[in-house]
């Protein structure tokens, strides 16, 4: 498949194109990390993160590619891995000096929200994810999910968001959540 075609499909939110891209560049990207003191799992993880960053930019419509897709993703991988190495180094020093402080509350809140999202219907989940993560336009969301028009998509998104807010707020006391 030609690169322009892959890119076009990804911009339109075609996840199968992302899968193809993943397989196509897997060896090159993981090799870079493996040869820079990374393990196989770390390489896979970083590569997936990089692809997701690329996906998010592409679907938002804000990405203008001036190089090959692999070149772009490679640079993302490199940056992510460099940050990871710096983080590891930092952590290693911090552990020597003092105990690491973990924000349990925020972690707990994130887990609650994640659980509540799972309770939404599939369409609601998709609408919210496409809007807040993929940054798709209402037209694109309507096309993807088969809505009649953008107004339908807009209304659906509003209602799904309200529903999620209510689930989160109702399942836990407001004081627990909003300190």
């Amino acid at each position: 498949m030609k690169e322009a075609e892959i890119f076009d499909r990804i911009c339109r939110g075609d996840e199968s194109a992302l899968e193809e891209l993943y397989k196509k560049n897997y060896r090159m990207m993981t090799k870079m990390i493996l040869s820079n003191s990374g393990t196989e799992d770390e390489a896979k993880d970083v590569y997936q993160d990089a692809l997701i960053v690329f996906w998010q930019k592409a679907t938002s419509g804000n990405l203008v590619l001036t190089s090959k897709i692999s070149t772009y993703i490679y640079s993302i991988c490199k940056n992510l891995w460099r940050k990871e190495l710096e983080r590891k180094k930092r952590l290693a020093h911090e552990q020597k000096d003092s105990p690491v402080f973990m924000d349990d509350e925020s972690v707990e809140r994130a887990q609650i929200i994640h659980k509540c999202i799972g309770q939404l219907g599939e369409t609601c989940k998709k609408v919210l994810m496409f809007y807040y993560f993929d940054r798709m336009s209402m037209q694109e969301i309507a096309d993807q999910l088969g809505f009649a028009n953008t107004n339908t998509a807009k209304t659906k998104k509003y209602k799904c968001k309200q529903k999620l807010d209510n689930i989160v707020k109702s399942q836990y006391a407001e004081s627990d959540f909003l300190d």
Binding site: I52, G118, M129
Partner: protein, 278 residues
């Protein structure tokens, strides 16, 4: 929102606790949705079977193995032809290497009979050309001084060399068009390690440090190191792009490579290398 509007909004959020709480809540909701989507995509990618795709390490190992096989093949072919040549008893053998005593040979009969032993790194095919560091002025001077009209005298000399060549080499007739006698040489391997470095400061320089020669510049073509040995002394030359350069190992810092211009030395080097005369 423009920068001004953003600033105003942030101020309002700070001043209104209720609005601040709602803002934090919505922020966490959006982050939660984003995290869920990211997890979903990661899960989708994680489920893709990559076992059939060779990893970088496997490919690297494979590449190395193939490279090793290729090198072994080339060495085997080279050895085969080398052995074949010896067995055929070729009377005239092109001198590839000879140890050349880097002493100014007086143009005597003795020097005619004695040939310097030159060791080159030509056999390491695509490798570096070592370049001579100093111009041949000194060498030329010695050559001139030592000439006794014996055109056949081969003088490979450093400025302070005065001895003749040692009788180390078998002398054999070669195809050299000149009267220079070129010794049949034995192939020796230089101990000088060579490396190439890009440098913004040095465009065509060299430096010898700890028996390692560093060449600075754009050495994209084949190069060759030629060493002349005598009495433990070694004269080193670099051949690059059909030009010769003297390498002075005593230079303490990066030194420009200067082309040798002395005809006699160049002729000798050429004849040793290619049996041709400038």
């Amino acid at each position: 929102m423009g920068a001004e509007e953003m600033q105003q909004f942030e101020q309002t959020v700070t001043q209104d606790p209720q609005l601040g709480k709602e803002f934090s809540f919505q922020k966490e909701m959006v982050e939660g949705i984003q995290a869920a989507r990211k997890a979903e995509l990661k899960s989708m990618l994680g489920n893709i079977d990559v076992s059939a795709i060779p990893t970088g390490s496997e490919v690297s190992t494979l590449t190395k193995a193939l490279g090793g096989v290729a090198i072994a093949g080339i060495v085997a072919i080279g050895a085969y032809f080398s052995i074949g040549d010896k067995q055929a008893n070729i009377p005239t053998e092109e001198v590839i290497t000879s140890e050349i005593v880097d002493q100014a040979a007086p143009a005597t009969d003795q020097s005619l009979a004695e040939q310097p032993v030159v060791s080159t790194e030509k056999d390491s095919a695509p490798v570096e050309l070592k370049t001579a560091s100093t111009p041949t002025q000194d060498t030329e001077q010695v050559l001139d001084e030592t000439t006794t009209g014996e055109k056949d005298a081969i003088v490979i000399s450093e400025a302070n060399v005065s001895e003749g060549f040692e009788d180390e080499m078998e002398v054999s007739e070669t195809e050299a068009p000149t009267n220079h006698l070129i010794a049949k040489s034995k192939v020796t391997h230089s101990t000088l390690e060579v490396s190439l470095e890009d440098s913004k400061k040095y465009s065509f320089h060299y430096l010898v440090k700890n028996n390692a020669l560093v060449l600075y510049g754009d050495f994209t073509n084949l190069y060759e190191i030629i060493e002349f040995h005598k009495d433990g002394n070694i004269s080193t030359y670099l051949k690059y792009d059909e030009k010769y350069y003297k390498i002075d190992k005593q230079q303490p810092k990066a030194t420009p490579l200067v082309e040798l211009t002395g005809d006699r030395l160049l002729n000798l080097l050429d004849s040793i290398e290619n049996n041709k005369e400038r």
